[in-house]
Amino acid sequence: MTVLFNLAIDSKRHGERQVLRDVRLSLAPGEIVSLVGASGCGKSTLLAIAAGLDVAYRGRVLLGGASIRGPVDGIGLVFQEPRLFPWLTAAQNIAFGGVADAARVDALLHDVGLAAYGAALPHQLSGGQAQRVAIARGLYTQPRVLLLDEPFSAVDAFTRMQLQDVLLAVAAARQLTVLLVTHDIDEALHLSDRVVLLGPGALESFSVAAPRPRVRGDGASAAVKRALLEQLQASHAF
């Protein structure tokens, strides 16, 4: 397997507490991987390390074979909340991380379904619309890897489905490699090629073989879901 993005975290501590130990995770180009696990298992910490926001760990992060420590344009990040700057318009928020390029902003607005909203201020957007802007901002620096930290957890079920479709569409169009943290097993199974369970032991990978485009609720990944849930329960039984 060719590897685009490689995480090798030997150790990450928060004070006395060992948060991550011997985590090895590789993503192939164009692969969509979901990271699941109980809350507090270190999912968000892992993502912060992957994004370069947390550099106080032992180990290394490789993007296309090159070691990185700190944020880079090649890796985009979408937070759990939109985190838009309230004094900037949607278009200005999207272009925040790079040199202003109106054409690229317009293309991104179009891709996330907000073509007419470039001049809107964040408080004029719904939660789902704001998160679309956040996704567009994450893509503005033209990253090869997009990281998302429970990006759809704060919206209603219908909006969540819409946002998932937006993500799948932009990922396919740009051949993005995606690492998504989620606590929603169904979301993980619908979006990913592979679901990775982060538990107290080593990472466990579950391949999701269902062909794309996928239909929600058709049971195509029922066996994987059962295996995942069993493992999730087992890993958190005490």
Partner: protein, 267 residues
């Protein structure tokens, strides 16, 4: 998708009804004063009739009232700009660095506790009776609210927004300019408005004590010559000037803080 439904609302158009409502109370007071004095219920040497005050204003305007107003306004403007600029600068320095805060803030808080009038004799001793002590006193008045507003504003910026700045590798200067200051602006703006109010107050304090021109001088001149009409005329002018300058800052606030999604914005 109904993408055209979104418009960008500016200020709501239905503000006009408030204006006459705000004038109601002053109008009632004026009428009460006028009738009170004319009927003899109130002695005219204590409370001159509003018409008398207006007449005094007209008379004074032929005798250098414009110069009084101009010199007071200029003092407030210069003192305020100096004090406010220093307030933003030191406030930002203290909010951005723990060490600067540890060094500066305790001293500044102690200075803030000094009553304004306590500065006057010292400033007169040090700087004489020219413009310098007045400007410095006004600057001191304007400084503290702006300083406090800037410290509170920057200190209160959402850590999550700062993290976005870090994600896009903003340096210290860019983080300050693109994230911290805009986010702190509402609080800085409140500080500026309070600072401007205190600048007018300190200007009067400065002019009451030593001045040959200005509204504060007019006040003390009116008292020495037992001219209540002059005193009240000067007070009215102070009220109008203070309100006008505050309205100027409010207009700036509406212009630059229109992005706020707040209770005040929808009222």
């Amino acid at each position: 998708m109904n993408t055209r439904a979104l418009s960008l609302p500016r200020q709501p158009a239905k503000r006009s009804w408030r204006f006459p409502l705000g004038l109601l109370l002053p109008a009632i007071l004026l009428i009460a004063a006028e009738t009170g004095v004319r009927s003899g219920a109130v002695p005219a040497n204590m409370l001159p009739a509003p018409s008398q005050v207006l007449q005094t204003l007209v008379e004074l305007s032929g005798h250098g009232l414009g110069a009084h107003v101009a010199s007071s306004t200029l003092r407030v403007l210069l003192g305020f700009i100096g004090g406010a600029a220093l307030g933003v600068l030191l406030g930002a320095a203290v909010a951005l660095s723990r060490r600067t805060e540890a060094i500066l803030d305790p001293t500044l808080q102690a200075l803030r506790a000094i009553p304004s009038l306590a500065w006057v004799p010292l400033l007169l001793l040090w700087l004489g009776i020219d413009e310098a002590p007045k400007l410095v006193l006004i600057a001191i008045g304007a400084f503290f609210p702006v300083y406090m507003g800037t410290v509170a504003g920057i200190g209160g910026v959402d850590r999550k927004l700062v993290e976005v700045g870090r994600l896009y590798r903003l340096g210290r200067g860019a983080l300050l300019r693109r994230v911290l200051l805009p986010a702190a602006l509402p609080s800085v703006m409140t500080g500026l408005r309070n600072g401007l109010g205190l600048a007018w107050m300190f200007m009067v304090a400065a002019e009451l004590i030593a001045a040959s021109r200005g509204l504060g001088y007019l006040l003390s001149d009116g008292r020495e010559t037992s001219r209540a009409d002059i005193v009240i005329a000067a007070i009215v002018l102070l009220a109008l000037l203070g309100k006008a300058s505050d309205s100027g800052l409010r207009a700036l606030e509406r212009r630059y803080l229109g992005w706020r999604d707040s209770f005040q914005a929808i009222q």
